[in-house]
Symmetry: C2
Subunit: 672 residues, 2 copies
Amino acid sequence: MLALAATGSTTADEGMWLFNDLPAKTLQTRYGFTPTAEWADHLMKASVRFNSGGSASFVSSTGLVLTNHHVGADTLQKISTPDHNYYQNGFYAKALADEIPAPDLELNQLISIQDVTQRVQNAVSSDMAPSAAALARRAIMAKIENESLESTGLRSDVVTLYGGAKYHLYRYKKYTDVRLVWAPEAAIAFFGGDADNFEYPRYDLDACIFRVYEDGKPAKTAHFLKWSDHGVNQDELVLVSGNPGRTNRIFTLAALKHQRDARLPYVLNFIRRREILLQQFGLESPERERRAHEELFGFQNSRKALTGMLQGLQDPRFMGHKEQAERDLLKQIAGDPKLRALASAWDRIAKLQQRRKELLGQGVSLNTQLYQMAETLVRMAAEDKKPSPEQLREFRASNRQSLLQQLFSPAPIYKDLEQAKMADLIGFMMEQRGGDDPWVLKVLDGKSPADRAAELIAATQLHQVDYRRKLADGGADAVQACKDPLIRLAALMDPESRRLRKIQEEIQEEERQAYAKVAEAVFATQGTSTYPDATFTLRLAFGTVRGYHEDGQPVAPWTTFAGAFRHESVHAAREPWQLPQRWHDRKSQLDLDTQMDFVCTADIIGGNSGSPVVNRNLELVGLIFDGNIQSLTADYYYSEKQARAVAVSSAAIRAALRTLYDAQRIADELGR
Amino acid sequence: MLALAATGSTTADEGMWLFNDLPAKTLQTRYGFTPTAEWADHLMKASVRFNSGGSASFVSSTGLVLTNHHVGADTLQKISTPDHNYYQNGFYAKALADEIPAPDLELNQLISIQDVTQRVQNAVSSDMAPSAAALARRAIMAKIENESLESTGLRSDVVTLYGGAKYHLYRYKKYTDVRLVWAPEAAIAFFGGDADNFEYPRYDLDACIFRVYEDGKPAKTAHFLKWSDHGVNQDELVLVSGNPGRTNRIFTLAALKHQRDARLPYVLNFIRRREILLQQFGLESPERERRAHEELFGFQNSRKALTGMLQGLQDPRFMGHKEQAERDLLKQIAGDPKLRALASAWDRIAKLQQRRKELLGQGVSLNTQLYQMAETLVRMAAEDKKPSPEQLREFRASNRQSLLQQLFSPAPIYKDLEQAKMADLIGFMMEQRGGDDPWVLKVLDGKSPADRAAELIAATQLHQVDYRRKLADGGADAVQACKDPLIRLAALMDPESRRLRKIQEEIQEEERQAYAKVAEAVFATQGTSTYPDATFTLRLAFGTVRGYHEDGQPVAPWTTFAGAFRHESVHAAREPWQLPQRWHDRKSQLDLDTQMDFVCTADIIGGNSGSPVVNRNLELVGLIFDGNIQSLTADYYYSEKQARAVAVSSAAIRAALRTLYDAQRIADELGR
């Protein structure tokens, strides 16, 4: 009944494949299609990663980048003001000079992948204690990255694959001058709002367009996708190139139970808490609502996604299948003297879940923008004095530029919102660690969470970019002399925060070692032709355009503009089912049969938002923006029975640009 | 800085006083007022308790009952239909015949109070184990109540006071034919909505009017309040007669810490979860929104109240004072050989908090209407076979009529809403007890929480009153033979549910014994002239009409109609700051200087909603509907620095009835 994916046993259109290990045989067998090396290289280089969390693609030789409205939302929010709400009302740059710089975007274009497994493994011997092994692994990874950065000038990241069985070096070209070109109104980008999120049929134009610049001019992007205006056909092969964030398909039963019984309930409680907090914050005034809006949307989206994930894990039928599969695998390796020793990995993972559970909610790092900046400044000053192998990973030389771009972002910071979150986070820490915990008492400094947050946020100067820059430039001496209350608090909490970080890294190291064995068992029994769990790096997924059945009824594979108008009237045009005025004004000029959104069987997950959907000729036919509700368990398994990826049709985007948004300049550039 | 109330040390206008032990001396000293026995008897009998949770008063000789819109909301919701939303749009019965019967209201009028402490104490000897003591206490209480019911025909409840140091028998006249006469629109009853809730200044007409009937005719109510149209004066003495639900001012430091670190965080997580669930349920359609609305309001209200309560406990300054007071008291009793032995009570209470913590979230009784009915039917069948002393308290003979009124209520039950809640509650139980828990597996029956809930709710027939009545009449045989899936599930879970109930009652019994000692220590060191913690029974509070300072600014003691219009325009008439149309249409006919809401220093808490505020001449001057945000810690301590009770002015109610609601018939009856 359920297609159960563990690494190694893939079925149907399953898989998030490495670009240096594409499923050539499957594609050939199922679809008579063999991607050439040139084909793969072109698609890889036409794909783009947003550091704010999302995927995209180059869609012109002049630097145009297509992604989702909800991926661009972070920037739309940051460039908006009380008078110009680009998030809500959309934006279009009539001329090149009108394109608005994003304050802190970094876009990554993958240039090459290199297997460095042997070098990493050689640096870590099997008799090391977990803490020593973690340190050694961190050191060799930093070394490889720094060497690569120095020799190529490219952003260089060593990526851990198959839970720790393989290590690949990814090199990226970075774009940091990124400007907004076009975004539609939130009302059509997110038509149906929270109610329709993860539902299908959908009628969203969840798209926006940026442009990358080099030396103040539009970048010349040799690798870009052609643009199809023809829509997709039933059962057509489509391919998705994007950066799925994280899957956990390798998880053992014990790890899944930890997710089900401890981690997901914990995270969901926090999300609901934050959701209510942001709603309450916004009640006061439209301006406060605007400030909190994008973050609120993010939490609503996560809540709905994680609820779906948890519901999957709470289904005894799914867990029963998973249990059976694990039992079978363990039986197989028990019967093989060469593999028998691997079985200990499952016990080890089970034990580590208990330690993970104990860590839940123990964190003392307050997750607000200003506090995080304070912590970064405090730590950077300390880490910069250490030899490279001992540095915390985010402070390695090869990551410094990206780190500073975030730290010195000129994006607005709203002190009223920061204060509300800070008060709630101190209260939350108090709930989690108990009101008598010594570290909680340090944070409180004798005041209530609300009073303490008010005092901290009122006095800090960290909201000023220059102040942050001066502290960063001044290094350890400047930080030590600094009287800013958030800097002082972050410094005070640093020992406890580092202690917890160390425990976390030890657990991760032990899990890496254990999962490397699990992967070994899977490779040995089911073959090596498989894909690793997602790691927010570039992957290829594939599938066909296909509807499905829900409650016995067929669901068609695509929707049209006409359907959007029908969907609006079914809901009596109540919020959030109100099309923007321009859609009504120009309805008669639209070809109402134009495909709007469509579904396909490709295997995607969060992070894939904004991924281009291409046909075998590398023409862009769609733009991934969602999965349906049945796909929310994709973290743990893939099924093509009902689970679908949801995309905006490229035909709809160009038609809307031309007919509704008077964006001829850009519509003409697309695909050229 | 903080006025710390423990029983025994009252300050200022503190106290929720027993009607058989009024603070005569304080009233005389502070206000030169001595309530006579007739005065107290009249006010007691003019006061009314709503079993749905709230207070009220008789305001005419013809059975008119005044309470809050939000107390009447439960009934407004139950009598509403998709076509007539009385909750949202209000209601007025033009003629007596138009008054709408409430489906399941029971109103209680307190007739007498009798001290039965000695009889209860005699039945419980100090060498009994907690479980035996709990049973013995339950038995004697049921015996006293049944005897009283038989001899007087009145509802008879033994109430535990001072945490277990005293027991009083309360006798009530019951009214069960209660009809709705008038309610304003939710927009003005709850003007400012969730945003303004617990805030001040306020501009709410949170009032509605019912009438009690006997033998199909308006009841003759000899004891009723006269009506004042003159408003209140600065510093005027006012008295509040109502049913505060629960306070915990006797709590020891360990018990307060349990609230702070375990219980309140747990409850708030659940409330936020339910709030999101109900919001999501309502997104789909206006009708679903209507169905979920009143419950959503209730959860929002609780969330805001408990958040305020928790914030008080998270203030180290408050806890520091509490700790100091406890230390002082313990020192005093340690120095007195006669009292020394009482100190063990504090340790016992501290130990019991750990057991309380372990019980949090362990419950297996699914709190939806239909499941609760199933459980009641299953248990009633079993309990009715037992001798009276062994019966669970809610099944005692003296409570049967009230129980059946709820069980056979014809109020609508919405299966879609029941299903959504059931699915969530099963998921919640799974999170709390873990997915491998045997009782969780019984509930799931091999399906996911959502699938299981869908199957249970689709098949049950318990939504039909006749079906429930037949099962109740059929007793144990009928229940045993019944195939209804909710009945079967409730029967299946009953052993575990009873096991937990037993543990709970043992803890309560041990706490009762311990707190009786704490009370003894307080009486011995601070005198007996004090008030017990609130128990949702009739109490008298007093205070003066007085403003306060907030953030250095004075807050005036009352608002006017003019202020309501200003408040609307300050918020640009956005939801929820939109006055009903009739307010605008007839604005010119209103005396805009009429007092609308006012604050006073009386000591109130949840349950006091709907309490009459009277002057010393027993004229109704106001109607309690809220406390300000600074009063939310009243559960644990009283302070008159900023904490205020908030009331609707009686002048505003009658003016609105006459000028805006064309309700001359009722306006003329008030106070006569």
